[in-house]
Symmetry: C2
Subunit: 385 residues, 2 copies
């Protein structure tokens, strides 16, 4: 496998965009990315589109050639990858694999979701189809209720408290308030988070990520050709995808995700770095408890200590290991199929020292963790300057 | 790129299976394939699932890890690929790329669709989402009507007649009648085909492929390791995927598919063979006109001569170039996401001399052409003994 770099990155703001179609959003992010990488569409040799549920949200299937044509790509393999909330993380992983193994040089990856054209109840149903429908969903489970069970068990097993969950929300909202492209740019207090409307006990409104529209894109190429495209390419030091069972009932322990541990282990080994060497991370905080568990599964803190560490400022902008400096899914927004590539774009901003008000002083090594469903897919990527 | 072989193949019968879920079907095909390749699940390094519309047909999304777990795969990358009716052709193409470029050794590909649990009108709507929804579908188009327009234009431009279309149906039904795993094992007469109920003029019921349940699987590995798994491995001599615009209105000429020509050109070049050297082919006869156009786009016959050649027996079991000896989508059945890999399984049967009553005397080189939508995706694969 040869070294691969991100040679272009671009995204739309995340939010509610009634006047933009799924294809508009995807084309906007893809075009920004090509421009950022000084590349023309004819240079792109293959196209990977991460999208979770376009057919259900907007009625259009067969999305990869549809978006590809809007971007001016002519005839190249155009492929949609679906892996629940890890759809574009997975699309990136396969694109990276293809470039790293020499199948192509220049590959474009776009992630997109257009969610806000559906009413909330329908969005909840569509999202639930990423869990086990025959078991969990038919029994009444939604994603908030699945993660509420996970949170309850984490509380029982490790003494995690609602204040710990709320601390994650407060931090991510504070970061998102500094991100001009975040969906909800509003700082909140711990009291607000604790007194939020209950969604699925113990998760309040502030423990849940947002329903958003948005798209994100990266352009990949062999590191040896990166200078042709970008003055500030980002090296992909490690990338791995892993899987697990869908149903919580089939897992040995619901307070840890084997797919996260497995993908992280491979990515760290490939990159030759340790968790403590990572400067910043974009973690999949679909719910606050998910960020806490990810911190533990990635080895940033010992098991059971994610909650107290969050409350102590470990992961804040000024902390030892800044997490979700973009605002995360909680505040930046969570257009499901765009999230994985969106994380990479946000890491690239920090690594390129273009993160504005939330720029970190030390940003050499970044990690992205993109989770699908209640942990059945995970993609972990490690980026370096 | 290193040589790759199909080292295992297995499929379910195609048909109507009210007692089998999507996961049951996929697991059945996958297990048969692993057994055929004398492989255990722990040897599989990555899993690719081709599926068009599981979320719409059966309500379950995030299908790759769900099916993977049922097959006993533990934690490996499990990825769903969606490319309309070319979903599993595309899944195969990406799996082949990964093995050919050295990313993995042993990779499993499954294609599956479970369609018959929905009423016909709903099936028609779901299939239509592979066309351009904002333009064609909102204007009332269905897939039969899109291909009816294509047929009309082919008739206008080349003098193709309804008798030519019907000849394709008669041939494929005759072949399917000899296939114990075909959905509709019934020979029909030319008169029956011509007098079939009109679906979308000029296409009658007998010009349209079937709505089926089914799954198909192949196991891939580097050719140098093939003997570890199979006494009769099949070499993948060429494989290519190409794309085009979705909407018919955006195409220069609707009587030819650029994505087919492009994928075929690449696959022939890679294999170092010419169209006339191909012994048999499984072509994507979603409608009879699609088989006729595919014959032309692949260079089996000159443009405009697909109809007369079909009527003259060119593509029959005893003809110069047998096409769809399995019965094709018309008679074998068309569980959309299973079709691409199903074609490869059927070619493998012929190349291994295991095709029973429909076995050809000469079956050294086979070609599969898997089409997505009204031509926006195409995968062409060339297999050899």
């Amino acid at each position: 496998m040869r070294p691969v770099s991100i040679i272009g990155a671009g995204k739309t703001p995340f939010g509610v965009f009634p006047d933009k179609s799924l294809r508009d959003l995807a084309a906007e992010a893809g075009s920004k990315c090509l421009k950022n990488g000084s590349a023309s569409p004819v240079q792109v040799e293959a196209f990977y589109l991460g999208n979770f549920a376009g057919p259900a949200f907007v009625g259009q299937n067969h999305l990869a050639p549809y978006v590809g044509a809007a971007l001016g790509l002519e005839g190249v393999p155009a492929t949609r990858i679906e892996a629940a909330c890890a759809s574009s993380g997975s699309a990136f992983f396969h694109a990276w694999t293809a470039v790293a193994s020499g199948a192509y040089d220049i590959v474009l990856v776009v992630g997109v979701e257009k969610m806000t054209s559906q009413p909330t109840a329908r969005v909840t149903d569509i999202l639930a189809s990423a869990g086990e429908v025959d078991g969990e969903v038919r029994a009444g489970a939604t994603f908030p209720s699945l993660f509420a069970m996970i949170a309850r068990r984490h509380m029982h097993q490790f003494g995690t408290r609602r204040e710990h969950l709320a601390a994650v929300a407060v931090k991510n909202h504070a970061n998102g308030a500094k991100n001009p492209e975040a969906h909800m740019r509003r700082a909140i207090t711990l009291e607000q988070a604790l007194n939020g409307r209950m969604i699925a006990d113990p998760l309040t409104l502030y423990d849940c990520s947002l329903v958003s529209d948005g798209a994100a894109a990266v352009l990949l190429g062999p590191t040896e050709r990166a200078a042709e495209f970008s003055p500030r390419p980002i090296r992909v030091l490690g990338a791995a995808q892993a899987s697990d069972r869908l149903a919580l009932a089939e897992k040995e322990d619901i307070t840890t995700f084997p797919a996260v541990r497995k993908a992280a282990g491979k990515a760290f080994q490939m990159a030759g770095v340790k968790p403590e060497e990572i400067d910043l991370a974009e973690l999949h905080d679909c719910f606050t408890i998910a960020e806490i568990i990810a911190m533990e599964d990635l080895g940033f803190v010992p098991r059971g200590e994610g909650g107290p560490a969050s409350a102590a400022g470990f992961s804040s902008l000024e902390g030892e290991k800044p997490i979700n400096t973009s605002g995360g899914l909680k505040s930046k927004g969570h257009p499901v199929g765009a999230t994985g590539v969106g994380q990479l774009c946000d890491l690239a901003l920090q690594l390129r020292c273009e993160a504005g008000e939330r720029q970190l002083a030390r940003a050499n090594l970044g990690l992205a963790q993109n989770l699908g469903g209640s942990g059945a897919t995970c993609v972990v990527t490690i980026l370096g300057r």
